[in-house]
């Protein structure tokens, strides 16, 4: 419909209704909640979260392996940090921090936790056990709060001029996939989403290694001009700080671990990083992410009911992620030279944040839209969009007209170009092979 018609129609809203709404806006804005953190506050909290993270991971692991004396060494290494860690072993129940009683939801579980400030960043020792089959002790640590781990490094024998002495044997996900690359004695875990749950197995032997995490803090709120207060233990009374930009800071922390286990097959430490990033005081956003073997498995994981695939062809890789802002499943058909990203989002609010480009009704990659097709078979509008991101790929967006629960399902298909710069498949060719998968 012509926008003018809509504008005129909306302008005809009864005056009484306008008065009612305008009167509310005329009132002074409600007091800012503690959740509206400033840039600097987020920086501070992000740094503190990382320090806490590093300390507790190191402390938990070292304590687990070496008992109190090692944790004392670790405490000394951390300088003036006087936080007293509990003396425990893998068989002990660990007490909760007095600062974190509210997070200690089970007095029986082996538990060590420490809460920062207003409770926006929490690291918990969650569980530990010995695996006879793996001949390994396993420590589970849960971390959630603002910010997220964007990458993790494990450096063998820090300060050693001759790296690669096999302190770290390998770094894998829990299900055995290699997630780290080794270069110059540094294992780097790659492709770690800021909003992800990670299962990391570190196999290490005798020696020393350094775990170095890079945490990126960022906020979801923007443009609050008023001063806001900074945290006390209840998340209130925060100091006056200007906040007029998105949070995007990187904090780096380092922990050092001594290892004396020689057997190359174990033990290993299993760390669960679970990040729930959110605005302070808001309802925690739950995230699910991971990889799947089948599309149905991914659909089940993120509760996406529709998806299209290609007859008799299984994707080579499937990954998924669900936040309370967006949900997507990304799958690639290597032999066909295409990858598909299907995401469920509010089309006009969230998609532009996903892609960093403006979105309008003409297509996802505005203003690069060129043509559109309507396909009756799929009951979908197909928009051919040229993506200008310099990666020399063409992207096509399929916009499904039907709104699903929580948004509209978009598909963005990336086509690899052949050597001559032409597409192996045209979108219209693919249509004949597409078929919808319905889950549930």
């Amino acid at each position: 419909m012509n926008k003018d018609v809509i504008i005129d129609a909306l302008s005809g809203i009864d005056e009484g209704i306008i008065d009612e709404v305008a009167s509310t806006w005329a009132e002074d804005a409600p007091k800012k909640k503690a959740k509206l953190l400033s840039h600097r506050t987020m920086k501070i909290l992000g740094t503190a979260a990382c320090v806490c993270l590093a300390f507790t991971i190191g402390f938990s692991i070292i304590s687990l392996m070496f008992g109190k004396s090692k944790s004392d060494d670790f405490g000394n290494m951390m300088g003036e940090n006087t936080m007293e860690g509990p003396n425990y072993s893998t068989s002990d129940k660990m007490p909760s921090s007095p600062d974190n009683d509210k997070n200690n939801n089970s007095s029986e579980a082996p538990f060590y936790s420490y809460t920062l400030g207003a409770g926006e960043a929490t690291l918990e020792y969650y569980d530990s056990y010995h695996s006879a089959s793996d001949n390994a002790d396993i420590v589970t640590v849960r971390i959630y709060g603002i910010g997220g781990i964007s990458s993790i490094y494990f450096r063998e024998n820090p300060g050693n001029e001759d790296p690669g002495t096999n302190t770290i044997i390998r770094v894998q996900t829990k299900d055995g996939k290699n997630v780290a690359t080794l270069e110059g004695g540094i294992f780097t875990l790659e492709n770690i989403s800021r909003a992800s749950e990670l299962f990391i197995n570190v196999y290490f032997a005798e020696g020393t290694f350094e775990a170095n995490s890079v945490s990126t803090s960022f906020g979801g709120e923007q443009g609050y001009d008023d001063d806001i207060s900074s945290p006390d233990s209840d998340g209130e009374n925060m100091p006056s700080i200007d906040n007029d930009e998105y949070i995007d800071t990187v904090n780096t922390t380092t922990i050092k671990l001594d290892c004396s286990v020689i057997t190359p097959d174990g033990p290993y430490v299993n760390i669960i990083f679970k990040h729930i990033f959110d605005n302070i005081g808001d309802t925690p956003r739950l995230f699910v992410s991971g990889s799947a073997d089948t599309l149905r498995e991914a659909m089940e994981a993120v509760d996406m009911h529709y998806l299209f695939g290609f007859k008799d062809i299984s994707p080579d890789t499937i990954s998924y992620l669900k936040t309370n802002d967006t949900t997507y499943i990304e799958y690639a058909y290597n032999s066909m030279g295409i990858s598909v990203k299907a995401f469920l989002a509010d089309p006009y609010e969230t998609v532009d944040s996903v892609y960093g480009t403006e979105v309008n009704k003409e297509g996802v990659y505005d203003p690069m839209t060129t043509t559109s097709i309507h396909d009756d078979t799929l009951d979908a509008h197909l928009y051919e969009c040229y993506k200008n991101d310099g990666d020399m790929k063409l992207a096509y967006a399929i916009i499904h007209p039907e709104e699903l629960e929580g948004g509209v399902l978009f598909y963005v298909i990336h086509f690899d170009l052949r050597g001559d710069g032409e597409l192996k498949y045209m979108l219209i060719d693919l249509l004949e092979e597409m078929s919808y998968i319905k889950h549930k």
Partner: protein, 195 residues
Amino acid sequence: MEELRLDKSVSDGEIIELYLGRDERAIKLTEIKYSKQLFRIAYNVLNDKGDSDECVNDTYLGAWNSIPPQIPKSLFAYLSKLVRNFAITLYRKNTSQKRGRSELDVSLSEIENILCDGSSVEREAQSRALSDLINAFLSDLEKDDRFIFVSRYYFSYSVSDIASRVGESDAKIYKKLARLREQLKKKIEKEGFAV
């Protein structure tokens, strides 16, 4: 009135009295009390500071010229309608120049999905029919939902602003808006409007 202080504590009734008495302090007090809110409404539509300032100034002049004979029941509601009208006029003028995307663009693009084209209907008649339908729809809503809908689609406030105002998360406001759009769509279909 001679001793009137020039600050936000002056009531709307006193300001209206100044307008009616052709006292220019009315404009100054309007600016002191409502310039930020009026600017925001204009900015939601125009996404341009200079244009928004211009609209706010036009609003002061518009209020000066129209009160009297108009005697608004709610001063801010009256001013907000004025500033929105000025902003939309300027928006229409700017549209052909392809300026930056404003909240009005975003909010309109959300709702035009459900208010589809009925090409056989005269534009004006179509607008009136739609207005009636929207008013009926709004009348049936709970006050909170009505506030959210009108704030978004009449005043073009951002979802974050609305969420902040009502003390909800952005996600909840998104969901509520999606639900309200769906309800409106059903009503439109039920009424046999061209969809």
